[in-house]
């Protein structure tokens, strides 16, 4: 099925909860949903035998601070890339996440690859995923004070690279 057909079947099933997004230039279509409806829609994408998206290729977050998008009216959009091995089709779903409450439901129980995908999204953007059993930082040090890939975080950081923890030799050693 092409992405347009998948979008049509989703719209037929979920109605106006699914908005249809299109990328200018190359014409890719994807679905944009609210975060409350992410879990039922993704579960339907996985379980429906005609769609059968059995692999979650990637989870990431787009920070729309400087790129206003009329479909994604909030600041963050969690992007899920889905793939079906059985039918060999791909699909992309975006979920809106507001800035003042940056959290989204986790899809770890649907696909295990969400475990680390969501950890990295949290690490880089600060979007928490409720239901993920391992919500820690993945790449940055555990007590890093910022979320690096947000648009308001500077490239060179805010001095963290000059003041990371130094090594203290154990008591009694020279």
């Amino acid at each position: 099925m092409t992405p347009e057909e998948i979008l049509q079947s989703l719209a037929g099933r979920f109605g106006d909860k699914v908005a249809s997004g299109k990328s200018p230039g190359n014409g890719r279509v994807f679905a944009v949903v609210d975060r409350e409806h992410v879990r039922p829609i993704l579960a339907h994408l996985r379980d429906d035998p005609a769609l059968a998206m059995d692999m979650l290729s990637d989870v990431t977050v787009v920070d729309h601070l400087r790129l206003e998008d009329p479909l994604v009216r909030e600041r963050f959009a969690v992007v899920y890339q889905l793939y079906s091995l059985r039918h060999n089709h791909r699909f992309q779903v975006k979920a809106r996440v507001p800035q003042d409450d940056p959290s989204a439901p986790s899809v770890f129980d649907l696909w295990k690859s969400a475990l680390w995908g969501e950890r990295e999204a949290y690490d880089m953007y600060g979007v928490e995923f409720e239901g993920n059993p391992d919500m820690r930082r993945l790449l940055m040090p555990e007590d890093y004070p910022g979320f690096p890939l947000r648009k308001d975080y500077p490239l060179r950081g805010r001095g963290e690279r000059d003041s990371f923890p130094q090594y203290r030799p154990p008591r009694g050693a020279t």
Binding site: P141, P148, G157, E160, F164, Y167
Partner: protein
């Protein structure tokens, strides 16, 4: 040097010193602290074609307690830097450091929030090798320079 402590003032140790330092400089045991792409070039230098063991650096010990030359190859992030310092301090004296590649010497292409802009801010570096990654011949040249300054 440790030799003088044993014999004290009753022995002239210059010639022994010369012998000891000749042995030491021709059998430097490197400790490869390889993180990224430069580590692959370092492994290539240690392999068959550009054989570093011709110059004495054959015994590659990943244990810092048994090595005297640390080759920092690859980019060092702020998470890795305490580890690097800890390992450097575990190496026994005398020890030398080669900073291999642009990222270890100065941060390289990556002037970002997470990369240390040169390990020489935290370690004393004896030889810097520019390049991204440097050719194996550069690493051999660096080793020869260390042999010149190794006493």
């Amino acid at each position: 040097m440790g030799i003088e402590k044993i014999f004290g003032q009753s022995l002239i140790t210059t010639s022994v010193n010369a012998v000891v330092s000749w042995a030491r400089k021709n059998a430097l045991w490197p400790m490869p602290f390889g993180t990224a792409c430069c580590a692959i070039e370092m492994m290539a230098t240690l392999s068959g074609r550009y054989d570093l063991s011709r110059f004495g650096a054959e015994v590659i010990r990943f244990s810092p307690r048994q090595s005297d030359l640390m080759i920092v190859s690859g980019r060092i992030s702020i998470k890795m830097m305490p580890v690097l310092i800890k390992i450097y301090e575990q190496m026994p004296e005398p020890k030398w450091v080669i900073s291999m590649g642009a990222c270890a010497s100065s941060g390289g292409v990556f002037d970002t929030y997470t990369l240390v802009q040169g390990v020489d801010q935290f370690l004393p570096v004896h030889v810097y090798i520019p390049g991204c990654p440097p050719r194996p011949e550069s690493l051999i040249d660096a080793l020869l320079k260390i042999q010149e300054i190794a006493v």
